[in-house]
Symmetry: C2
Subunit: 347 residues, 2 copies
DNA sequence: CACACTCAGGAAAGCGCTTTCCCGCACATG
DNA sequence: CATGTGCGGGAAAGCGCTTTCCTGAGTGTG
């Protein structure tokens, strides 16, 4: 082992024992002073210990603390892709909540792959985390037996599991009313005079996508519109671009609205539409979903449905840590935000 | 404590002891089989243990393992704001590298605040992480004595610190050649016929910002351009918008190029310019830095300097874990990408 | 056949904490 | 003055692992 740089100083980290000795008290007392205990310690001892700790630059060894206590201050967060602004915002909310409670968050990337997710969950169980937040799970997963077994095992170590998404047995759930939001979006567009729509979605079985497709269809149809086609791909910009190109190749009538079930998909679609020489808005309208910050910077600005992701992340953390938990608190309502990418049709 | 949902099953997590008993071997043997040891174990024992572990759904308690070993498999990552695509991409690279090596990454948000950062570092030291990646530190920090003391203490617990940014004593460093990239950008714009520039930067002392300002100025001036003004704010869209509005209020000549030292700043500037009724590109040109994915989706597409953030994140992780470490591997060169927001001037 | 030697399991001593007990002290009570 | 009762410090027993020893069995040698 070369050990090229940063030769470890011979100063090992001070232990609680060191602090106790320096303060001239017992280990037990030092522990009580420094790491919140119910028992009182005389003021005189308290200061001596606190001083010694400060002087030595003591920091409790969290691992040791966790083994002794049998529980850690860790929140495990599983996201599909941390570079995606969708998950980034959620992570920001989770991080804020965790910070408030003095918890640490470990993050893992599932790449939206179920097998990978399960492996990660199994590995993370070893941390004995206080809570585990599943932000990228599919609906069907929660039915599979191995999955159930893993979840039970997790509950066994005292970890509270929270899923962001659809109802599921035995875990707390924070739901986004994707269906309702999409319904409102469909209705709003119909009210704007649109009668024909093409939907660009993710694969069937991705619950978020399915809900948005269903909701939009309901709302749009109820107000007299009709969904011509639903094309399925992935939750990515590239997929949106490809699907939109396919649709355009098959012919898309002027006055149609293209609904990308997430903003990144819609953004890809905009690129494809432009590349095909069509005009976004007056010719082909486009709307997304999520209302990521980029929406307002596009030309034309992209219509969307605002999803308060940071808030959601925060609530999800709360759900993981709160002793009492009222599921009613945690359905988020969404606002439709129409912009110039879906101008009112005055025909 | 209401304990509303998910009543903990009475099944506590199986311990290594349970596995050993189930397999009819000693604790030591079980440990050697399951958690990589140099010592050999007879095949017959090996299978019995492995079977028992699988049957019981055993997962090693990482905290206990860490206390016993005196070192953990944790990488602590400090970012300014995880919702910012800049940090999001870096985090993705770090996560990928960590996953490859079976490490876990804990993430903390400094909000770009030095005091907060220091608090977090102190707290995270308790984890005894294998490595700590500082992605949002300022240059001056590394000089302050408390800072040095904290860093020494961290090294004392065996944590390898890696800073993303300027050179610093005693820690490994991964550098982005901001100055060089910006110089190239300035030169390229001058070559495109621009002669006058306004720079929108972050506060003085933010090293990344300072380097980009300096580099751009060098490159632009060397080729005959002149930087009219440098306005300072923060690294955010809002700041970019505000600064650009200020500049416009003071008057900006047609043919000037506005350089936002990060893409988000440039994007804010684009909004302000448009709001002022000016045309981006032909009238006032705009360029950013970082080349976040959004750049190509803007209208006009935003010129920028490509910074391979995911790669950089990956390399910082390597820097944190590699035994041998060659600092030369880790200066990243940047590519200028000119798009329609800075058309060639044909005057 | 006595005598080093390996080899691999198991007992047990940690790792740095928390927490249960025990115990001596000071004060209150009859 | 004997007894009861809090109170709070300290000894020590864990927590679930790793790792150092110790030990007995199996080899090879002269």
């Amino acid at each position: 082992m070369p050990e090229t740089m940063a030769p470890r100083p011979a100063t090992p980290a001070p232990t609680l024992n060191d602090v106790a000795e320096a303060a001239g008290v017992s280990l037990a007392t030092a522990s009580r002073v420094l790491n919140g205990s119910a028992r009182k310690v005389a003021e005189s001892y308290r200061v001596r210990v606190a001083d010694a700790a400060a002087r030595l630059g003591y920091t409790a060894n969290l691992s040791a603390q966790a083994t002794a206590r049998g529980t850690s201050g860790i929140i495990a967060l599983l996201v599909g892709d941390i570079a995606d602004p969708y998950f980034g915002q959620i992570a920001a909310g989770v991080a804020r909540g965790a910070d408030e409670q003095g918890l640490v968050v470990t993050i893992a990337v599932t790449e939206r792959d179920a097998a990978r997710e399960q492996r990660i969950i199994h590995a993370l169980r070893g941390q004995r985390p206080r809570g585990m937040i599943l932000a990228a799970s599919r609906a069907e997963e929660s039915q599979r037996p191995e999955w159930r077994a893993e979840l039970d095992a997790i509950a066994g170590v005292g970890t509270q599991v929270v899923m962001l998404g659809p109802q599921a047995e035995g875990v707390r759930v924070v739901t986004i009313d994707n269906r309702g939001g999409a319904r409102a979006l469909g209705a709003a567009l119909a009210a704007h005079g649109y009668r024909s729509a093409v939907i660009l979605a993710a694969a069937e079985g991705v619950r978020t996508s399915d809900d948005r497709v269903a909701g939009f269809t309901e709302g749009f149809a109820a107000a007299g519109g009709s969904v011509e086609r639903v094309l399925r791909g992935e939750l990515s910009r590239e997929s949106g671009e490809r699907l939109a190109a396919d649709a355009l190749a098959d012919g898309v009538a002027a006055g149609t609205v293209v609904f990308g079930i997430s903003d990144v998909i819609a953004i890809g679609a905009m690129a494809a539409i432009r590349a095909a020489g069509r005009v976004i808005g007056t010719d082909i309208a486009v709307t997304g979903f999520d209302d990521i910050p980029t929406c307002t910077d596009l030309t034309p600005p992209l219509s969307s449905v605002r999803v308060p992701l940071e808030q959601i992340g925060y609530q999800t953390l709360r759900a993981a840590t709160a002793d009492d938990w009222d599921p009613d608190d945690t359905t988020f309502d969404l606002d439709v935000v129409l912009r110039d990418s879906t101008p009112a049709r005055t025909s």
